[in-house]
């Protein structure tokens, strides 16, 4: 119903407004709606050339606040209308009240205007009308108008007035008032339109300044809150937090007091911090009676009391009395609760001495600060609590350290009570231990209580302690004196106490208690926890104490462990380790002596001992002496304990006797495992006294077994490593030895000599595969050599198996292995153990077996098998090397033989050019011994390199070397380059032969052809030439001339004949077809004849001396041929004589021959030429080629001389002139004719 009425009222109101506007338009009145100008533009400005709205806007833009805006507006209005008074009143948000903002009169602010308040609902006023209707209005006669507020109108002295609402959106912010005080006047529509326009501008400016102010205000508040928050949070001390909060807020706001009370709701909540403005009285003890704050706490909300004197809310007397506030001079109070997680813990309050409505900003500030304080307090509280916890934990840790480091129970408990008293800030503490048997608690430690209390006892079911023990948890008494019947007078005067039971392994062993005489001290749950923690520490201490009894035994056990550990830490041999295990076992278990037995020879044998008496050692050396239970224990890896051996049925008579003799009563048997060998032996510890073996000792024995196992494994590894190293070294030594050996037989000998040492065997053989059989090729060891040459099948047993499997074969005891007889010579000869490995060749084929033998049965360790296999592998490689080497050596020898025996000189040089081969032919050709040439370069040896100077058509090079001192030798050389597999030059081979004679013949032949050609052509030229000349018809020659010409023709023809004869002689000499007519020939005649002829024909400025004896010099010769020889010699002498020289021809008889010497004064014949000159075609170098001659003269001379049984030679030296000697045998009586042949 109410809604309907309201709707109706609104409807009517709207209708009325519409109607009103309609009427105004009709009357030409301006439309009050600010949106009017949009439909109907306002008339142009009347007074100012510039647009006043524009200048106004500029003024507003600079205005920092509403007052300035209003002033700007008012000055404009005064100027525009020419009235005396103008003012702005603000309308409250709810529209119920108007307050004066600014008024201007004669350029001054009107002082009273700001205090104007108009109740718009109840007081009649034009401002109210303008506000309600949101439309301007004018009143021509103010003094008589009922619509104005009389009070204001009179005070202004207005005659006529205009009221224009300042409208922003749907809200009227204020009303502009313009009044004429001198006279009545009307406000024409254009003025009103102007005013409305100005009001519109002003509304905008107000909105702007208002939002700016709010923003400023909000920012300021936030800043303040932030600053307070920052400072509050930076403090972790609660008091500081509170102080900061009240001081900051107090200073920042316009208040007289600012305070914080803390406490739970319903408690007095004392003041914890307070700030008072100067001169303001503090609240003091009156705090609990502050009604506003109490109200805020109760209502859990902010209470803003503008005037406490008139606030019905505060009338509840349970809140406190308003008079309290008034007595403090307080009129306005703002209080807001301080909460942490919805729990009120205090209140934050502000006091003012004047009644003041608290604005929203102030309320927000207070609430924000209260929140901050709440958070800060919470944080501080948490920190504080944390610190306390840390302290307690530290104390507990400290106490725990004491407990665990002390073994004296009294000391421990004493420390415990001291620490707990301090920690819980109690007055005293005590500790009682339960004597369960007697059912009493006996005091063990006290603090803060008389010392005589120690040892005091009381029944275990009494007092707080009794309850704690019953409930098996800590109990607290807040009223000790009232609730508890103290067990001792010393406990009188205690007001509160906690007692906690000390529980260990489910049993309560005692109690620990703390007490206080301070009535204000209340023990919290946390305190209980602390005490319980101390109680458990106490039980630990008690447990430790209990275990002290066992400490000596433990010490012994520990020593045992240490002993074992120290054994473990040393790299001991296996034997040493077994001894050490015995010692460790004996010491650890507190025995008198100990032994360790390990499997050997099919049983357990003594392997290590400690302090073992001889008789016992004797028994154990042969085994366990019939104590099968011990063997069984070893096999099952169990500990066996016999407290009294003599009475123990598990041991035989030997043992029982020995126990009596050697004085041991008990023994413990511990299994001793050698894990790598997969053997289990037994350790025996003997005790002089009868032992009741505890579980601990049995357990220790097990530990001992485990430790021994570790030690043995370690020792085994150590031994294996040492053995491997020894084998590796031996292998390396053998390898080095054999790698340098290149004779296969020697290698086999070495191998069989080395192999036994490698694996600790007694003999060795190498069998090589020959067809289907293995033949023992080398053997070493006692009686082994007899096996050499024996054969076994390559597919049979043992060696055959090795060949077939291509892997090693180990036989520990051939006697038990059921081998077929004849499978191995050495095994038949009595060796027991066999280990064989295949000799595998480079191509992977097996070509033999390396075998080692041991006299007695033995097992072959893996590393030994591997070592032999490795050696066998090496043997194969060594053998291959050796065979290869043998082949190479053979090849080399063959090559050397070939090279040495070829006719050609062969010289090989290495890559550095040094001679590595110089064969016999080379020695002969060069006349340099191989020994001299080796290692030097050919160039060094021969004074020239073997690189050819020229190359013949067949690709052979020709070089000339000097042989000996003078001889020049021509060599035909061919060269081959040797390359290594990589293609690099590895050396060169030169093959050469002596071609000196071939070359000489070649040269001579060539010279002969040209010489003969010349020698024939010269006479022919004369003959032909003179003949042609004589035939000339154009020239008439005289007789003399003609005779000369013909003479030349004749002599030249004769010369030609001589040459032809000589050639013929040579041909005959060479063909062996020379006819010699032997006859006694007087050489004197021939000499004279020849010289005469020579003087005639050849003289040419040389003189001849002939020396012949008186008596005839008869030689047996062919006269014509002798003449020919002499003619040649003389001709030769003439040819080599200088101009004017003398040629001497002397004939004489010697012992059995006749001699003719032809001596010239030429340069003589050098030694080197003296044979050569007799060669065919030879022509002396010393003569010019132009000297003529066929080079046949001396050849023919010697040939003829020999044909006659004589000879021709040179007896001459360089510089002495030439001397040719022609010797013939003396004539024999009988002339004879014989045929001379080659």
């Amino acid at each position: 119903m109410g809604y309907l009425l309201l709707a109706l009222a609104v409807g009517l109101l709207v209708a009325a407004v519409v109607l009103l506007r309609f009427v105004r338009r009709r009357n030409g009145e301006p439309d009050g709606n600010p949106s009017g100008p949009a439909e109907e533009p306002p008339p142009p400005p009347q007074r100012t050339p510039a647009d006043p709205a524009t200048s106004l806007s500029a003024g507003f833009a600079r205005a920092p606040d509403a007052k300035t805006v209003a002033r700007t507006l008012l000055d404009e209005v005064l100027a525009l209308l020419g009235v005396e008074f103008a003012a702005v009143a603000l309308i409250s948000e709810d529209g119920k009240e108007a307050t004066g903002l600014v008024a201007r009169n004669d350029g001054e602010d009107v002082a009273w205007w700001p205090s104007v308040r108009i109740d718009l609902e109840n007081e009649p006023s034009a401002i109210a009308s303008a506000s309600f209707e949101a439309a301007p209005m004018t009143i021509f006669d103010v003094e008589s108008s009922p619509r104005v507020n009389r009070r204001l109108a009179d005070r202004v002295g207005a005659k006529s007035a205009a009221f224009v609402p300042i409208v922003s959106g749907a809200r009227v912010l204020g009303v502009l008032v313009a009044a004429s005080t001198h006279r009545r006047r009307s406000f024409p529509p254009d003025e009103m339109a102007r005013l409305e326009a100005l009001a519109g501008e002003t509304a905008l400016a107000f909105e702007k300044t208002r939002s700016a102010e709010r923003l400023q205000e909000a920012l300021g508040r936030e800043r303040l809150v932030a600053e307070i928050g920052r400072r509050v949070r930076s403090e972790h001390d609660v008091e500081a937090v509170l102080r900061v909060a009240v001081e900051e807020v107090g200073k920042a706001t316009d208040v007289a007091r600012c305070f914080i009370r803390l406490g739970e709701p319903g408690t007095p909540m004392p003041i914890r911090a307070e700030w008072d403005a100067p001169g303001v009285q503090p609240i003091g003890v009156a705090a609990p009676n502050l009604p506003v704050a109490n109200l805020a706490v109760r209502k859990r909300r902010t209470v803003a009391a503008g005037d406490v004197a008139n606030d019905p809310e505060l009338e509840d007397p349970t809140l406190g009395r308003v008079e309290t506030l008034l007595r403090l001079g307080t009129r306005a109070v703002l209080a807001t609760p301080i909460q942490i997680f919805d729990q009120v813990i205090g209140v934050f309050g502000l006091h003012r001495l004047q009644p003041t409505e608290w604005n929203q900003s102030e309320i927000s500030l207070a609430e924000a600060v209260a929140r901050e304080v709440g958070l800060a307090l919470h944080t501080a509280e948490l920190l504080e609590e944390n610190r306390r916890r840390l302290d307690r934990q530290a104390a507990l840790v400290q106490a725990a350290q004491v407990m665990t480091s002390e073994l004296q129970v009294e000391t421990v408990l004493q420390r415990l009570v001291v620490e707990v008293t301090k920690l819980l800030e109690a007055d005293a503490a005590d500790c009682y231990l339960l004597d369960a048997r007697r059912g009493v608690l006996r005091c063990a430690a006290v603090y803060g209580l008389p010392a005589e209390l120690i040892e005091f006892e009381f029944p275990a079911d009494r007092a707080l302690a009794g309850e704690a023990m019953r409930r098996r948890q800590a109990v607290v008494s807040g009223d000790y004196a009232g609730e508890v019947d103290g067990p001792h007078a010393a406990y009188e005067g205690f007001t509160a106490a906690i007692v906690a039971p000390m529980i260990w392994w489910g049993d309560v062993r005692g109690v620990i208690g703390v007490g206080t005489g301070d009535p204000d001290r209340r023990f919290s749950a946390e305190d209980v926890e602390v005490l319980e923690a101390f109680a458990s520490l106490g039980s630990v201490a008690l447990r430790n104490v209990a275990s002290i009894e066992q400490s000596s035994r433990q010490l012994r056990i520990q020593r045992g462990f240490f002993r074992i550990a120290s054994v473990l830490a040393q790299p001991l041999s296996l034997d040493e380790t077994l001894d050490a295990v015995a010692q460790a076992a004996s010491e650890a278990l507190g025995g008198s002596f100990a032994a360790v037995l390990m499997p050997a020879d099919g049983g357990l044998r003594l392997a290590g001992s400690h302090e073992l008496p001889g008789a016992v050692a004797e028994l154990l050396a042969e085994g366990l002496g019939g104590a099968e239970s011990l063997r069984d224990a070893a096999l099952r890896k169990r500990v066996l304990a016999s407290p009294n051996v003599e009475e123990d049925g598990r041991f035989g008579n030997d043992w029982q006797r020995l126990a009596g003799e050697e004085g041991f009563r008990s023994l413990v048997a511990v299994p001793v495992e050698a894990p790598r060998r997969e053997q289990t032996g037994i350790g025996l510890v003997f005790f002089a006294e009868e032992q009741a073996f505890s579980d601990d000792e049995i357990e220790l024995s097990h530990h001992l077994a485990a430790a021994a196992r570790g030690a043995l494994e370690r020792a085994e590894l150590f031994e294996a490593e040492r053995r491997n190293r020894a084998i590796a070294q031996q292998l390396a030594r053998t390898g080095t030895l054999l790698a340098s050996e290149l004779d296969p037989d020697t290698i086999l000998e070495e191998i069989v000599a080395q192999a036994p040492g490698l694996v600790g065997a007694d003999a060795a053989t190498v069998s090589l595969l020959e067809g289907d059989e293995l033949v023992v090729s080398a053997a070493h060891g006692e009686g082994a050599e007899a096996a050499i040459g024996s054969r076994v099948s390559a597919v049979g047993e043992l060696a055959g198996e090795v060949v077939q499997s291509r892997g090693p074969l180990a036989v520990g005891d051939a006697r038990t292995d059921g081998l077929v007889s004849g499978s191995d010579a050495l095994l038949e000869a009595g060796y027991a153990a066999y280990l064989g490995a295949p000799l595998v060749g480079p191509e992977g084929g097996v070509h033999g077996v390396l075998a080692v033998y041991a006299r007695g049965p033995r097992s072959w360790r893996e590393e030994e098998v591997e070592a032999l296999a490795a050696l066998a592998g090496n043997v194969s490689a060594f053998l291959s090397n050796a065979e290869l080497y043998q082949r190479v050596v053979l090849e080399r020898e063959r090559s050397m033989a070939i090279l040495g025996n070829v006719a050609d000189g062969i010289v090989a040089v290495d890559r550095d050019g040094c001679v590595v081969l110089w064969n016999a032919a080379a020695e002969e050709i060069t006349d340099v011994a191989a020994a001299e040439a080796m290692g030097r370069s050919p160039a060094d040896v021969l004074q020239r390199s073997l690189e050819p100077d020229e190359t013949s058509a067949e690709g052979r090079g020709l070089i000339q070397i000097r042989r000996g001192e003078e001889e020049e030798v021509w060599l035909s050389v061919s060269e081959a380059v040797m390359r290594d597999p990589a293609g690099a030059v590895a050396g060169r081979i030169y093959a050469f032969r002596d071609v000196s004679s071939d070359r000489l013949v070649e040269q001579l032949k060539s010279g002969f052809v040209s010489t003969v050609s010349h020698e024939l052509r010269a006479p022919l030229t004369s003959i032909y030439g003179f003949a042609e000349t004589l035939l000339r018809e154009d020239v008439a020659f005289g007789d003399e001339e003609r005779r000369t010409f013909l003479g030349y023709i004749a002599s030249e023809a004769q010369r030609l004949t001589g040459i032809v004869d000589a050639l013929l002689s040579v041909a005959r000499l060479e063909a062996g077809d020379l006819q010699v007519q032997f006859a006694p020939t007087d050489l004197r005649e021939v000499v004279s004849d020849v010289v005469e002829s020579a003087e005639r024909e050849l003289g040419n400025g040389r003189s001849f001396v002939v020396e012949i004896p008186e008596e005839p010099l008869d030689a047996s010769a062919d006269r014509e041929k002798v003449r020919q020889v002499l003619a040649n010699l003389v001709d030769n002498a003439v040819k080599f004589s200088p101009q004017g020289g003398t040629v001497t021809v002397a004939a004489r008889r010697t012992h059995d021959a006749v001699q003719v010497r032809v001596v010239d004064q030429g340069s003589g014949v050098p030694q080197s030429e003296q044979e050569r000159i007799f060669r065919k075609f030879y022509r002396a170098e010393t003569t010019s080629s132009a000297a003529g001659g066929t080079g046949l003269g001396l050849f023919i001379a010697r040939g003829l001389a020999s044909a006659m049984g004589g000879r021709v030679w040179v007896d001459s030296d360089v510089g002495r002139g030439g001397c040719f000697v022609f010797e013939l045998p003396m004539a024999v009586s009988d002339a004879q004719e014989r045929r001379v042949g080659k």
Binding site: R1017, A1018, Y1024, G1025, R1032, T1044, F1045, A1186
Partner: protein, 151 residues
Amino acid sequence: MTIDGGSRTRVLVVDDEAPIRLLCRVNLEAENMVVLEAADGLAGLETARAERPDVILLDVMMPGMDGWQVAESLVDDEATSHIPLIFLTARAELRDRAKGLELGGIDYITKPFNPVELAKVVEKLLDRVRRGERDELRREKIAELRTLLVE
């Protein structure tokens, strides 16, 4: 001293063989040439320097200084280098002929030769030399020889 100048051609014959020198003299003089003679290389060289003949007929195989050496000396000597050289020799091999031409000879006449034709040959050669064709002549001879050598 040329034919053009009215003078007779002067020929120096260097040969150790007296019959050859005589042969040349008789036949060259018959053609109105003046013949100078030298019996060995040294004499030939001296005569050439002293007499500056128009042409020299030079034997090769002579005792002492042979024809090759004489030729080299003549060519090396400014006073004689211009004198045309004709080898007249029994060395008939092609390589000797080549050597002669290389040493500066303008021709190479091998023994035996027809002495009646000698003057004509000499005259013909000198004609070309006088025409300034000495080098060309030698090139022709060398080319000719080369053809022979290749064959």
